[in-house]
Amino acid sequence: MIDATATTVFVALFAAVTVLGFYAARWRSGDLRILGEWGLGGRRFGTLVVWFLLGGDLYTAYTFIAVPGLMYGAGAIGFFAVPYTILIYPLAFIFMPKLWTMCRAAGHVTIADFVHDRYGSRALELATALTGLLATMPYIALQLVGIQVVIASLGIAGSGLLAHAPIVLAFVILAAYTYTSGLRAPAMIAFVKDGLIYLTVAVAVVVIPLKLGGFGHIFAAAQAVLAARPKPASIVIAPAAFSAYATLALGSALALFLYPHSVTGVLSARNADVIRRNAVYLPAYSLLLGAIALLGYMALAAGIATKNTSFAVPLLFKAMFPSWFVGVAFAAIAIGALVPAAIMSIAAANLITRNIYRRYLRPHPTDAEESTVAKLMSLLVKFGALAFALGDTQYAINLQLLGGVWVLQTFPAIVFGLYTQWFHPRALLAAWFVGMSAGTAMAVSQHFSPVFPLRVGSVTIAAYAGMYAFILNLAIAALLTLIFDATRVPRTATA
């Protein structure tokens, strides 16, 4: 059953941002035949634009569906998203302005450009680029899953090939204006997206608790439902589970700004001070995320029953809001998916162009050639992600989870590289490989749960697999650097 009012509002808002996406090409116009213009918005964005851009980029539609979904399904552990998104910013405040400054001075477009420059190692550059690509592809696919959830919740369901028509249409539109406008398109759309999300959440946290009899009742009801589950959960973390909660928060925070789409957002800034200020202002989005997380409990208290936890929030909105506002809220989520999907595909395209095409296929391309390749790659990446999303979405979910584990393994080369060249590039490469393998093995052994119970003697400590792999990675990088330098292994042989 299609909700006509909600669908009309939804489609109207979606059409409006499409116009905006194409119009963006002319905004603070530059020569879009240059990669720095197309792929980094000309590196001219000020504090406000970067705030919207990074906010729209880091807090994705998938996050807005998955975090409350996890609270709905598993209780307090889902709230790790809040300490995670608090701890990002002190880290970003320290590291990212430095990265911006070094990349700007050398004209780097991607994080792998930076790694190549610092260590003179093509192998390490390729490892960094591939890690970013592997982590980004499923993440783009999950943005599509976010749109799919919303479209299905509107009651739109075709059969056969038609079933996928709305999502394919949305994606073709997205691909077209990303192609023509580059990073300017998501930057402009982010204003609308964030406006709608703030509005939706502000209304939700006032209206829904009023309808459900206040926060005290919501938490009590959520606790009752969670405790009665076949696998009982709770609204507070048990002491034994805190190691998992804390390492998930810390490991995710360490990894976030190393994702290609984060780096692209950072490098689009006009100067390093824009990044420092945003480390102060971006936590406003974390407040939003915290409020959204609690929607999972509100869904429990409202008696929403669904096997697929992704539908908890859309179903809650349908139960609580009038149709026209359901349209607004769903448009907020769907448009929210477009912004990160666009930025991620641009970031992935930049990586392929700079660190694979330019390095291995065609050294010294002209500016126009480079930007043309990047535009085509952004299409390729998106259709790859679309294929992912139309298949079994569980793959995308599992891979996105692994993506966080993987990206964290590029931390030593990147973040230590900001300050020192002490580490031996081959040691970093070997340590990266061990970290990737160990992290993947741990997550797979737990059937794609990110928490690994490590047994040391008679004690078992459950913690984020990415953190265990990261610690191993660091230890090996340091140890092998000492060994390689002692045995005079050349540092730049692979340059």
Partner: protein
């Protein structure tokens, strides 16, 4: 440099299990939740303080 040490406070506050309790609750919101919301604001305030104290230009 020492001013940057202030940025470690949110890490201590959130990565040490000070807050695994339901009481005291605030407007019906358990301690576990409002404590983390408070640190969200405090962390931003601390970052702002460090920003102001270390000058607007990057190091």
């Amino acid at each position: 440099m020492s001013r940057y040490l202030a940025l470690s406070l949110p890490f201590i506050a959130l990565l040490v299990p000070f807050y695994l309790r339901l009481e005291p609750s605030l407007y019906g919101i358990p301690f576990f939740y409002w404590y983390q919301f408070v640190w969200l604001a405090l962390s931003a305030a601390i970052t702002w303080f460090v920003y102001r104290a270390t000058g607007a230009s990057p190091r």
